[in-house]
């Protein structure tokens, strides 16, 4: 009797081996399909106007790039245009903007060579004279055929990119007088 019961163990094991219950659990993860809602997504969008704790966007300088009615000429409080910040901006710029605007900002990116409308160069006078808040605004709200990047690039990174664009503009219009004594000596020596 006992022996026969023991035989059941491998039999049951053989039966359960093919079940996938734990592989595909009855729960939803991000981006899964659900027939319950009309757009087919299991994940629900936030209710309009929802604000997470600590995410109230009160500061127009930081979140709209504006001081009063005009675009801000400075970075918002809390940001410092030091080397680390600019390098961060460079890395982000190279991901999100170079496909169209090109590495140096002349509007000659790869996608443009495949027929996308060419964006203006950052080094024309009109854009060189724009305050830094303007670039933040273009990224946030888009401009003409360029779509908004607000959903892809967080606010901090957008300011880093804006600062980096300013650095790019300075770099393409620099004169010898902008270079410090020490660096000028190096250039004269032909070293780097």
């Amino acid at each position: 009797m006992r022996n026969k019961a023991l035989l059941l163990i491998p039999a049951v094991a053989a039966l359960t081996a093919c079940r996938q219950d734990m592989h595909d659990q009855p729960k939803f993860k991000g981006l899964q399909v659900s027939g319950l809602w009309t757009n087919g997504q299991a994940v629900r969008p936030l209710v309009e106007g929802t604000i997470a704790r600590g995410r109230l966007r009160q500061d127009p300088h930081k979140f709209a790039g504006k001081t009063g009615d005009v675009f801000a000429a400075t970075l918002p409080a809390g940001y410092k245009a030091d080397k680390a910040f600019l390098l961060h901006g460079q890395r982000r710029y190279n991901i999100y903007c170079t496909p169209c605007h090109g590495m140096a900002g002349y509007g000659d990116g790869m996608v443009v060579s495949r027929g996308f409308k060419a964006p203006p160069s950052y080094h024309i006078d009109r854009l060189r004279n724009q305050p830094v808040g303007y670039f933040f605004d273009v990224m946030t709200n888009g401009y003409g055929v360029m779509v908004s990047y607000a959903s892809r690039i967080p606010v901090d990174d957008r300011w880093a990119i804006a600062a980096y664009i300013r650095a790019l503009q300075l770099s393409q219009n620099a004169t010898l007088a902008d270079v410090s004594e020490a660096d000028r000596a190096k250039m004269a020596g032909g070293r780097n």
Binding site: M22, Q25, K29, L31, V33, G40, I95, Y96, P99, R152
Partner: protein, 216 residues
């Protein structure tokens, strides 16, 4: 009473013991081969997608960074699949009449997301997190292969537990400098045994093999 077994049955009995053992081994081997074959693992089996999206054209051809589309890969567990708006930032202008892209435009008009076929799919009792791997110097190509050469996405590795553990036991064999994580054709500049040991120290990489790391 007549003999049921002739003397030759002795040989048969003996060889059936060996034969049985061989049969069991062969069955085991066969099952294991089947288990590891693309039939079960889908390794290198390209999947059909609603739009024939080509990483080869977009990554190698136009040089778009992974993060342009997989935006959360550095910050979250989930790498992120781009929403239709991301495609439309270029395809509102280029290839905007191509019939191939009609599902993208339809999705943009109706607000109904595209349904991509999942390629990598771990069982749900396994926890995986992209951000830690990316910040500790594990390149996309180590796990996903040469994505820039895939006209259609396929899975490069089995995603078996032994595959995860192989690296968790000896991360120094696979680690690379952090700024090379997104590079596809990466080759170590110096001997991997020297570089790996140094980077593991520098990035303070632990050897995580506790069950609860992945089964939580």
């Amino acid at each position: 009473m007549a003999q049921i077994f002739r003397p030759s049955a002795n040989l048969l009995a003996k060889s059936s013991i060996v034969g049985g053992a061989i049969l069991v081994a062969a069955l085991g081997f066969g099952l294991d081969t089947l288990f590891r074959s693309p039939y079960n693992t889908n390794v290198r089996v390209a999947r059909d997608q609603p739009v024939p999206f080509s990483h080869k054209h977009h990554v190698a051809g136009i040089g778009i960074d992974c993060r342009y589309c997989h935006t959360s890969v550095e910050k979250a567990a989930f790498a992120g699949i781009p929403p239709t708006e991301t495609c439309m930032s270029c395809h509102s202008q280029i290839w905007s009449d191509a019939p191939m892209l009609e599902p993208v435009r339809e999705s943009f008009r109706s607000g109904k997301p595209l349904q991509w076929t999942r390629v990598h799919d771990l069982p749900q009792f396994v926890y995986f997190n992209h951000s830690i791997h990316v910040t500790k110097g594990m390149g996309c190509a180590v796990c996903h292969g040469r994505v820039d050469q895939m006209p259609l996405m396929y899975q490069e590795n089995t995603l078996f537990m032994e595959w995860c553990l192989d690296c968790h036991r000896q991360p120094e064999k696979y680690i690379r400098p952090k700024d090379k994580v997104f590079e596809m054709g990466y080759k170590p500049a110096e001997d991997q045994s020297v570089l790996g040991a140094r980077l593991v120290q520098e990035y303070k990489v632990r050897k995580l093999t506790d069950c609860a790391v992945c089964h939580r």
